[in-house]
């Protein structure tokens, strides 16, 4: 079953067509990677899908329901979550609170004015779990602003996970994480596959080829190729536009 169906999506900044009549289908339970050169419109696509940015035309159907025109928070509640390429966290909150508030969003009842939230075990436990999953549980009580860049990237993913989405849109989750952390995050994504659907944007080709069930290549707002990792790797057009000979040649 297709959990996400995008038809005829468009967006332009002035004369610049960033998303140009784009079609995309993502099957439930798979990891669908989107790759493409810098400035191709990948992040913009995610912004459009998540509702952060408006679209000029087109349709976005998520689990059978039309999402076009819905604000971002409604789409999240419907089960679509995202992470940001340029880290977007609550800097004054601790890492734990960052995640706990995401758990709270899913739990509802946020118009409760009296009970202190800091002591709510259910929220904190779920949050801790998400932190542990990305490997920064020992940084739980550090102010997010004081985390190192890589740790922030890990937190970014933990927040997205904590909303318990059906479809997770990840914008370069591995950027800024070094060896061991990257390995761990790749492991997390692999484990998630199946229980939920992932759309992954990444410039780390090792990770993409290791994880993706399908890959779409986005260039200048258009998808020029979609296929299995092997098909994409062999596509000369993709090599020329994005991969370059060397990277494409390397076998994992």
């Amino acid at each position: 079953m297709n959990i996400l169906e995008v038809r005829g999506l468009r967006k332009a900044y002035g004369a610049l067509k960033v998303t140009d009549d784009l079609d995309l289908t993502v099957r439930e339970g798979t990891l669908h990677a989107i790759i493409g050169p810098n400035g191709a419109g990948k992040s913009t696509l995610i912004a459009q899908l998540s509702g952060q940015a408006g679209s000029d035309a087109g349709s976005v159907r998520f689990a059978g329901a039309e999402m076009m025109g819905q604000p971002m928070h409604r789409r999240v509640r419907a089960g679509m979550s995202r992470s940001f390429q340029i880290t977007s966290i609550l800097p004054g909150f601790t890492a734990l609170e960052n995640v706990a508030v995401a758990v709270q969003a899913r739990a509802g009842h946020s118009f409760s004015f009296f009970a202190p939230v800091a002591g709510e075990a259910a929220l904190n436990e779920a949050a801790m779990e998400a932190l542990a999953r990305v490997g920064i549980q020992d940084r739980a009580h550090v102010r997010a602003a004081s985390l190192s860049h890589g740790e922030k990237r890990q937190l970014e993913l933990a927040i997205a996970l904590a909303t318990r989405p059906r479809l997770l849109l990840l914008d370069e989750p591995l950027a800024g994480t070094s060896g061991q952390e990257a390995e761990r995050l790749i492991g997390v994504m692999r484990a998630l596959k199946g229980s939920l659907t992932l759309v992954l944007i990444e410039h780390d080709m090792d990770a993409v080829f290791a994880l993706a069930d399908r890959i779409s290549v986005l260039v200048y707002g258009r998808i020029i190729a979609t296929g299995s990792p092997a098909e994409i790797r062999g596509d000369p057009q993709v090599r020329a536009a994005y991969l370059g000979e060397e990277t494409a040649g390397e076998e994992p």
């Binding site: 740790e151 060896g179 410039h203 994005y242 991969l243």
Partner: protein, 228 residues
């Protein structure tokens, strides 16, 4: 060119750097490696005077510049590509490039030749660029100051493989011209080919230094400190 010894630094009460030692000679490419949160960026910030050194010292060309004003350090010949891009959001691409430029071999046409994508976006504001475009701009901006020592903190984050390859090539060319480079990056393979020496830090201390061959020959180092 650059010499850092026994450097210590802290954010408020929490100490981050305890004992950092490294040096970059003229025409040398040195990498700074370590896992997330080990203090690489903090080292760079302290070298540039953006964070106060609580101990140790920083020398550029034999002059002590420990805790000097950042602009003095930059004027001594250091150019920074900071972590997280930090392009000027309200300036357009052209202004980002020329605002801080100093005369030298790197000029606007040359930067645009390296990053043709930027040429197509000259009128865009910094915050209207894609992540990768911002990264290119940050590198271009640092090159335009024509530094003798270029410091790159995760400068290839978010760049497409093709572009990344070009940057490695460009750094190679710089090195060939006798310029020095201090680089933090997670692409250890590519660095291994480019770099002369590697400095590994762990919890704010320099724990290993050696050349590429030594690194390749001692997998336990990469295993223990970098986990790759």
């Amino acid at each position: 060119m650059l010499k850092v010894e026994a450097l210590q630094a802290a954010y408020g009460e929490s100490r981050v750097l305890f004992d950092i030692n490294l040096h970059v000679d003229r025409g040398e490419v040195v990498t700074l490696m370590g896992r997330n949160g080990m203090g690489k960026t903090t080292t760079v910030r302290t070298i540039f005077g953006l964070l106060r050194a609580r101990g140790g010292w920083v020398q550029v060309d034999g002059t002590d510049l420990t805790n000097a004003a950042p602009h003095r350090i930059a004027r001594a010949g250091l150019g920074l590509v900071p972590e997280g891009r930090q392009v000027f959001p309200t300036l357009d691409v052209r202004e980002n490039l020329v605002a801080m430029a100093r005369p030298g071999a790197w000029t606007m046409p040359r930067v645009l030749e390296l990053f043709p994508r930027l040429g197509e976006r000259l009128g865009h504001k910094g915050n209207q660029l894609s992540g990768g475009e911002q990264q290119m701009l940050a590198i271009g901006r640092a090159l335009m100051t024509n530094p003798r020592l270029l410091v790159l903190d995760e400068a290839t984050e978010g760049l497409a493989p093709l572009i990344r390859d070009e940057i490695w090539a460009c750094l190679g060319a710089l090195k060939a011209q006798g310029e020095s480079i201090l680089i933090i990056d997670k692409n250890v393979d590519a660095l291994g080919r480019l770099a002369d020496r590697h400095v590994v830090i762990e919890k704010g201390r320099t724990v290993w230094t050696g050349d590429s061959r030594a690194l390749r020959d001692s997998p336990e180092i990469t295993e223990r400190f970098l986990h790759v």
